[in-house]
């Protein structure tokens, strides 16, 4: 197909390929789950991820045994990689819910094939996020003290603290994401059950499908509940990531104590979450040969969301500079100048380039359709977002009110092991989702097929 570099996809471009039918769709997606042997690329991917997961376990054991002194965190920079990466992971997860829930409410047709990838991604990212603060605790065995329950100790958590809000948000978010995922996947599990050949798989997916038979009554109940859940998940995810922002804003540290943090964080979630979904969509599309189901239309739409996120983030970056420079607080201004030109200068400037400057290429329709280019831009965004989280976490602490109290942060090998290990945890979980659960929402794409027919 020859298309000019500047021409946009036509408005009525097919969402799914013309040769996708109800029959072929069910078989294609279910067969990826039911096939006897996983394809070679799956083993290669899983084989690379699993050692990283082992690394995760090793660094966890090392850390819990020797304490967080194995990391580079020292006074004054007491929040290091773990907290920055907590924010980074929870942003990726939140982005998955935004794509899944928000665009269900807008009835965007491209959401139907990509929402399962988004939700599998978020369920894989949330444990990585959840582990980070626990690893950072110092006495990780006591993390359950944050639960508000009437314990025999007679002590309660301090519920006025943003750190407690954050804990509650994360716990609720994990549980709600599981409910949301399961309510959506139930009909697809029934499809897999009815296509299963071996006895073990029939029982396995039969139990998971809970006896779903797709009567009109069940569909009505499922659709009503799912719609309300979506309407709840969308504001929920805004609250989760805003409260993560309040962790910082609630502190009196220079550079953190700012009301701009909640939206600043949320914009970051939009762009970084969508960027991971784009990368995973490109890989799943190629690996599972689903070019007919995950079409150019999807990538084009997701790329636009990334671009929107990038513009919003650019707006947040302007405010990040405007606040300290316009304000009268000398410490805040000094901190910001140090952030720009001091120890964190390299990551500060590269984050701006990777998150805001380079994604502007997505204005060109050709770039949105060019998968290698799109993949690289999104990879750059993920790296850039990591740098952003790192930069503002470090620089606020490194350049606090009293210059004699200034310091720097040098990560150790165990800091990097924590990063690599959680990436391993994420990829291992995602590869398992890819292998054992339908990666495209079959029931919802069926509706898209019917709509395409009547076009």
């Amino acid at each position: 197909m020859t298309m000019s570099v500047t021409r946009e996809l036509p408005a009525d471009a097919p969402v799914v390929g013309p040769d996708v039918t109800l029959t072929s769709l069910s078989h294609e997606v279910s067969n990826r789950v039911l096939m006897e042997r996983a394809p070679r690329w799956w083993w290669v991917g899983f084989g690379l991820s699993f050692p990283l997961f082992i690394l995760f376990v090793i660094q966890l054991a090392w850390l819990f045994n020797y304490g967080i002194g194995v990391w580079g965190v020292r006074i004054p920079v007491a929040w290091g990689f773990a907290i920055a990466e907590y924010v980074w992971w929870i942003a990726l997860a939140s982005g998955g819910t935004i794509v899944s829930a928000l665009f269900f409410l807008t009835r965007s047709p491209w959401r139907s094939a990509t929402n399962r990838i988004a939700e599998s991604m978020l369920l894989s990212a949330v444990p990585c996020a959840g582990m980070m603060p626990i690893m950072h605790l110092g006495r990780p065995g006591f993390f359950y003290w944050l639960f508000p329950y009437s314990s025999v100790m007679g002590v309660w958590p301090q519920v006025r603290s943003p750190l407690w809000w954050d804990f509650i948000c994360l716990i609720c978010y994990i549980l709600m994401s599981i409910f949301y995922y399961y309510a959506g996947i139930l009909p697809d599990l029934a499809t897999v059950r009815d296509l299963a050949q071996t006895r073990f798989k029939k029982i396995f997916y039969g139990v998971l499908a809970l006896g779903w038979h797709g009567s009109t009554r069940q569909w009505q109940n499922q659709r009503i509940t799912y719609a309300i859940m979506s309407a709840i998940m969308a504001p929920m995810v805004v609250s989760v990531h805003s409260v993560v922002g309040l962790d910082y804003a609630g502190g009196l540290t220079v550079g953190w104590h700012s009301t701009q943090f909640p939206p600043y964080f949320f914009f970051g979630a939009v762009i970084s979450g969508t960027a991971v979904i784009v990368m995973l969509t490109i890989l799943v599309r190629w690996g599972y040969s689903l070019q007919n189901v995950l079409t150019e239309y999807h990538l084009n739409a997701l790329a636009k969301v990334v671009l929107t996120g990038s513009v919003m983030l650019g707006f947040a970056y302007v405010w990040e500079a405007f606040g300290p420079i316009y304000g009268s607080d000398v410490a805040a201004r000094t901190e910001f100048l140090q952030r720009m030109f001091g120890f964190t200068a390299p990551t500060f400037w590269s984050e701006k380039i990777l998150n805001v400057v380079i994604p502007q290429l997505l204005w060109i329709p050709f770039v949105r359709r060019n998968q290698p280019l799109l993949f690289l831009i999104c990879l750059g965004i993920i790296v850039g977002m990591w740098q952003e989280r790192y930069t503002f976490t470090i620089s606020g602490l490194a350049n606090n009110y009293i210059p004699s109290y200034w310091g720097v942060f040098y990560p150790t090998v165990w800091d990097w092991a924590a990063l690599a290990g959680t990436i391993g945890l994420f990829l291992t979980m995602f590869f398992l989702f890819l292998r054992f659960a339908p990666i495209v929402s079959i029931a919802e794409v069926r509706e898209i097929i019917e709509e395409e027919k009547s076009k």
Binding site: H27, P148, P157, F179, D194, G211, H213, R217, N221, I228
Partner: protein
Amino acid sequence: MTDLYGVLGVFDTPERATSAAAHLQQSGYSNFEAYTPYPVDELNRIVHPGPKPFLPILMFVAAILGAGWGYWIQYWDEVVNYPINVGGRPHNSWPAFMVGTFEFMLLVTVAIGFFGMLAVSRLPKLYHPIFEAKSFARATRDRFIICIKATDPNFDLASVHDVFEGLGAERIEEVRA
């Protein structure tokens, strides 16, 4: 006759199934159910007409209870059981309790919604007579099935077969109870 659950007809398009259901309703059948691979709105409206306010109301009530529960936990903690004076702030500092209240509200709503949906859909229930039908498996893929139950007052084995044939069913099958 007691061991018969019903008779099902298989249709290949949602339009055929919808018009068949409309026809069945007009001919006086009241106890039939449709099984489809995705929700077909018109068909749903014919088989189960009228508004379905139960789940939304259930979730709304759950939201109120969840919010009350969330606020109560924090109130109990900060005011009743373990009051700590933090810089002279009031013990019942409600603005600071709002995040927890909000999150508890949403969690309870979604959880009750999820389990409520399963309960009114009679799930989990791993066995259903319709699973015994040979043609049923395709209802979760690409076929639209209507099953007239034997409990329907108008049910008559021979005439049901004729009706389905007249409506253009691909296959007709008896479902054992």
